[in-house]
């Protein structure tokens, strides 16, 4: 066991919304060729057959007012380019075509789906990616929308769902929070505030109200050193007035919310941990996005271990059933700890020898393996979660000195 792992007392996961790896971090390839970003030559064809190359011209807000499609059939089009034949190959060629349908068939607007942020536009995310560890191969769990993808982060499965429909727990699969509480361990799911609430409504609000708290409590827990062993943080999902009459902006980065507010939120979470010396050296922070939100990424999602469920053709709306045997589109994922060397890049599918594949089932898999090593003796997990890669091996024996780790000025 590494000294970093030996010192680990807390895992914190911050899950943002709906941005692809290339959209947020693709520009970093120009800074570090090991990062599997964009060369600038990647392209899609638009509905007129014209080539639309990726462009470093993404805007913080305003160019994605029409929410890009990220429901199962839309993502199927994005991955397979519209091919419907048996044995079709994924080519990541249908993003512009997919967005065309969302923009009232406006060809020019449809090109925006290929835009990515230029170097320097996202100082928080890119500093964290280059100062700590960035994953080249972290994928959303399902080629579909938010709710079912987030379910994988909590349960290691979506119980057969590929949509945003309400679902119920019919199997003895426990959420990672219930596992922790049942074993006398500590765990909290911090949502931003009551107006924003949580995306884990039906199952967790029903079954485990005691694991919920608000973001203010997270900040207080960091300050007082009383953070639980496992924390999951939800950003603010909507613009709304604050209790004092002020303006609270959505910080989830879901299109078309201002990406800069999400940057500030990520920096706030980081600083809360960073500025408590005891917490800083005993915490691993994972920043990850739930799914790609319909935005372009160039990496073909790999196959994966099925979770035992099958979504029927009527539910996928593609005319095909889905056996949860392929991951969704790649998303940004960054791990932060002083026990991680600067500039760590975890290779993904681009490296056939050393590449590793992570997905949201990696989250309960990691938390369970770290805090509940005997869990499988008496309880069930999906085979998907059991086979998911865990990420705490990134913690090394060497802790970086305080002056070697950044702080954000908010």
């Amino acid at each position: 066991m590494s000294a970093g792992l030996d010192n680990l007392k807390h895992i914190v996961v911050l899950m943002m919304e709906n941005r692809s790896f290339d959209h947020m971090l693709g520009a970093l390839r120009a800074k570090d060729v090991r990062i599997s970003g964009l060369t600038g030559n990647e392209f899609n064809l638009d509905t007129n057959g014209a080539i639309v190359k990726v462009q470093a011209s993404a805007k913080f807000q305003g160019e994605l007012k029409n929410d890009p499609d990220h429901h199962f059939p839309g993502v199927d089009l994005q991955i397979f380019g519209g091919a419907q034949n048996d044995g079709r190959a994924a080519n990541m060629g249908g993003f512009v075509k997919s967005y065309f349908t969302q923009t009232n068939n406006d060809v020019n607007l449809s090109h925006a789906i290929m835009n990515y942020f230029a170097l320097g536009q996202l100082p928080v995310l890119t500093e964290l990616a280059t100062e700590f560890a960035v994953f080249n191969g972290w994928f959303s769990s399902i080629p579909g929308p938010t709710i079912c993808n987030r379910a994988f982060a909590h349960y290691g499965t979506s119980f057969g769902q590929v949509s945003m429909d309400i679902f119920y727990l019919l199997d003895p699969i426990l959420s990672v929070y219930e596992r922790m509480v049942n074993a006398g361990q500590t765990s909290k799911l911090y949502y931003y505030d009551q107006q924003s609430s949580t995306m884990e409504v039906v199952n967790l609000l029903k079954n485990e109200p005691q694991v919920f708290a608000t973001f203010d409590q997270f900040l207080a827990d960091c300050k007082s050193g009383s953070l639980p062993q496992y924390s999951f943080i939800e950003p603010c999902y909507n613009d709304h007035p604050g209790d004092d009459g002020g303006q609270i902006l959505a910080s989830d980065q879901h299109p078309d919310h201002d990406v800069r507010e999400g940057e500030r939120f990520i920096a706030t979470v980081f600083n809360a941990i960073r500025t408590n010396p005891d917490l800083w050296q005993s915490t691993a922070l994972l920043i990850v996005y739930d799914e790609h939100g319909g935005l372009y990424d160039h990496v073909v999602p790999p196959s994966c271990t099925p979770d035992g469920y099958v979504a029927q053709a009527a539910d996928t709306e593609t005319g095909r059933p889905f056996a949860f045997d392929r991951l969704g589109i790649r998303v940004p994922a960054i791990m932060v700890s002083p026990w991680i060397p600067r500039g760590t890049v975890i290779p993904g599918p681009e490296d056939p020898e050393k590449g590793r594949v992570f997905e949201h089932a990696s989250i309960p898999a990691t938390v369970t393996s770290q805090f509940l090593p005997n869990f499988d003796q008496n309880n069930k997990r999906t085979v998907r979660e059991k086979n998911a890669a865990t990420f705490l091996d990134l913690l090394t024996d060497q802790m970086r000195p305080d002056d070697d780790c950044i702080v954000f000025n908010l």
């Binding site: 929410d67 409504v201 005691q210 639980p228 999902y237 902006l249 507010e261 500030r264 702080v407």
Partner: protein, 82 residues
């Protein structure tokens, strides 16, 4: 030497727009909240159907008190050790 400080730009006030049409995600979220509320109503209704005057033992009383307290003060359930 102090750690390197990275400035984070402020978000312009004009970005605030609570009149923005809600995304499909937010509209799904309120359906989930609505569903959760129905579950709580069913829980409250079931508790109201119990006649407390017909509870006589300490076991019955404590079970009923727990049931009602879980609704009125869910935060107290399964308090965690810190």
């Amino acid at each position: 030497m102090p750690p390197r400080v990275v400035p984070v730009p402020k978000t312009p006030k004009e970005s605030y727009n609570p009149e923005r049409p809600a995304s499909s995600l937010l509209r799904a979220q309120i359906l989930h909240l609505h569903e959760a509320l129905k579950w709580h109503v069913a829980e409250i209704q079931a508790a109201l159907e119990i006649n407390p005057r017909r509870l006589f033992s300490e076991r019955e009383v404590s079970n009923y008190a727990k049931r009602v307290s879980r609704i009125l003060h869910p935060q107290a359930a399964k308090r965690q050790k810190k």
